[in-house]
Amino acid sequence: MALLTDDLRAMLDDSVDKFIRDRYDFHARQALVSGQTGYSADHWAQFADMGWLGIPFAEQVGGLGGGIVDTLGLMRRFGRGLVVEPYLAVVGLAGQALAGADDGEARDAMLSALVAGDVLPVLAWEETASRGNPAWVELSARGDGGGWCLDGEKITVLNAPQASHLVVSARVAGQAGDADGIELFLLPARAEGVEVTGFPTIDGHRAGQVRFQAARARPLTFDGRGGPLLRRVLDQAGLMLAAEGVGVMESLLQRTVDYTRTRRQFGVPIASFQVLQHRMADMYIATTQAENLLNLTAARWLPDGDNAEAAAALKAQLCVSGRYVGQQAIQLHGGIGMTDELDVGHYFKRLTSMGLLFGDEAWQLRRIWQAHAAA
């Protein structure tokens, strides 16, 4: 359910459209991708100025007081523009984790700075053996009188090399796999005992492996509330990812339709071949299925409730639709789709990433079954 007014959302969407149009053509995007930092600090400051960083946060921290559903218009447009700024990681993942934190002081301080564009916290939750399971936490937090120490490793931490802070899921009790005994912790990304191995990812984003050795951190949650919060945050992030994915898919569909209309083979536009027409019809169907399911899921989203089955279905649909649309966009573009020079391949690679992030198709289907069988 959206919390902001229709007018405000429309205004936000327009401002994002304008930004993409004016500042984010493919070449500008590729310059960011191959640059040192992998994103533009100027852009980020602009995001703050436009209020985008504050969409789903309370007014008391400078936010617009919206919910996660209110970010979907922006995310969809970010998908169309293949935006590489760490919005999903900072606002969607770490930001939402912070917004749900028990430690009100840390929460408000961090979120105020986040909304102002002054900090870039990111979320470190995935581990080598966790696949999609946020409860598979081996990284441990030990209390030693005055504070807490983290030991362990996280992988595929989105935007870790660019982060100012890390929000980390850690086990304070029980064993890996237990739903209980997980809390979230906050620490600066350059704190002692933290080693970030950053790398680019295939989709032009950045991520990192992060090792913690006796790294001192501040608890954000208490009494085992970290685990449920983390699950909620990941479901929300899946919703944002789906919106971005729909933006990617509609771009690919449009580009493919346009390309097949102009590309000629055997003396005719290849769009005149029925097999390719049906392929594009199926791309339309796949895209529209994801879009409609996104809209319905968003409309029925419970800000504080259990969205597990709906979130899993949406993410599974994103995996299925994204794989089909991405692969067929390449196939219908032929060789040119295989090159770094054309945006099509980059859209495809972004969809490929999306398929794996926060649990792949098989993982989501498993969650659907579990939620369904439990109902």
């Binding site: 339309y284 299925q289 409609n292 968003a298 599974a316 098989a362 079954w369 369904h372």
Partner: protein
């Protein structure tokens, strides 16, 4: 999101309404009617008990649920209609046959003369009449514009020659609507008229049931040899029947019915069967992760279908999306349905191979061989092969989508 609900009643009224519907079905639907619901293996339940149920509902004023009050509808809101449909499904009563209520009825409301409305609509609403649909021809399946069954004016009559096929339950029908060629000039779509026949016991009209893959007659061939019908048989103008047919096709394709709800019921039945089925190792099929993945995938497809149905219902009439989305609903719903029936067959295993014509016949009193839940599985699988063929094949639907995509 657009709001799809008009005239929404208050929540209290709604739950009272639901209870009222539930109570009525509970007392009014007898065992044979429920049996007809249970033994549905295609889109068309057993004729006799279904028409009896139609007449029972009519007496309560509920048969023509989506119809306006002036034509005998109950005047329900969309939400009430949905509740009524939900409760019918829950109770397992057969769906009423659509040819009259959902096809020719709405067409007559839109294109009929006052005289035609008065003459035909009451019998449709009451279930006293059953209408057969004469669209397809042996050489014009998904290509309606090429139909060749023709009617020629001779004095105060048309004389019809030709044939129709895939005419559901024509052997039970007393009326028929059909497309005939009344002119060969202009484009093929032009020169088609939409006829209403008020009787089928006409000289030269022959009906021959066709046995389907499941062994039952459901469709028919209908042959016309110099069949004379009065000049007022046209619905709408002569040679403008294509307009009526297109209106109906849109109606049929998008459908107002919720496939998603139906599919969830079918999936529930599969889950129950999987719960009582051995996996060959002392476990249950329902606990097999491979089964669970296929099942969850179909739940996902059903969720996406529901979302598309909701979106489609919220579209403005004539919105540019309504064309491709109506074809999309036809494609995805029918392909998901086919996959659901495939999963059911795999869960049922070899017992689904048993051919049980008698046990499937409503009122036969013959017990099924093997598990009762498996009885309808194979006929459903077989019959639903047609789901991607009839009503404009899925190939035609993909052509339509592509055409619209490429013309944008």
């Amino acid at each position: 999101m657009h709001d799809t609900i008009a005239d929404a009643p208050a929540p209290d009224d709604i739950s009272a309404f639901r209870q009222e519907v539930r109570d009525f079905i509970a007392q009014a639907a007898d065992a044979e009617i429920r049996e007809a619901g249970r033994k549905m293996t295609s889109f068309f339940p057993s004729f006799e008990p279904t028409m009896r149920w139609h007449r029972i509902l009519h007496r309560r004023g509920w048969a023509a649920a989506p119809w306006p009050r002036e034509y005998g509808g109950p005047g329900w809101s969309v939400e009430q209609q949905q509740i009524f449909e939900d409760e019918c499904r829950r109770a397992g009563v057969p769906r009423l046959l659509p040819q009259g209520l959902a096809m020719v009825g709405p067409a007559i409301m839109k294109f009929g003369t006052p005289e035609q409305k008065q003459r035909f609509l009451p019998g449709i609403a009451s279930g006293d009449d059953f209408w057969a649909q004469g669209y397809s021809e042996p050489n014009a399946g998904s290509d309606l514009a090429s139909l060749s069954c023709r009617a020629v004016r001779e004095g105060d009559h048309y004389v019809i020659n030709g044939s129709k096929t895939w005419t559901t339950y024509a052997h039970h029908a007393n009326r028929m609507f059909l497309l005939v060629r009344t002119s060969t000039e202009g484009k093929p779509q032009q020169g088609i008229s939409f006829f209403l026949l008020d009787r089928l016991d006409l000289p030269g009209l022959t009906i021959r049931p066709i046995i389907g893959l499941d062994g039952f007659p459901e469709q028919c061939d209908v042959f016309f040899e110099n069949v004379r019908v009065p000049l007022d048989s046209c619905l709408g103008e002569e040679n403008k029947g294509w307009t009526v047919a297109k209106y109906l096709l849109e109606y049929e394709r998008g459908g107002s019915s919720s496939f998603a709800t139906h599919f969830r019921n079918e999936l529930d039945a599969i889950r129950r069967l999987a719960t009582s089925s051995g996996d060959g190792f002392g476990g249950r099929v329902v606990d097999d992760p491979v089964f669970q993945q296929r099942y969850a995938r179909l739940l996902m497809e059903t969720a996406a279908l529901e979302a598309t149905e909701v979106q489609f219902a919220a579209l403005e009439k004539g919105s540019p999306e309504s064309g491709p989305m109506s074809s999309m609903i036809k494609i995805t719903s029918m392909e998901t349905l086919q996959r659901i029936t495939e999963l059911a067959v795999d869960v049922a295993g070899t017992p689904s191979l048993t051919l049980q014509l008698q046990a499937l016949t409503v009122g036969s009193g013959v017990e099924p061989i093997g598990p009762e839940e498996a009885l309808t599985i194979m006929p459903k699988y077989l019959n639903n092969r047609a789901a991607s063929i009839f009503g404009g094949s899925n190939e035609i639907q993909r052509n339509i989508i592509a055409k619209l995509l490429l013309s944008r």
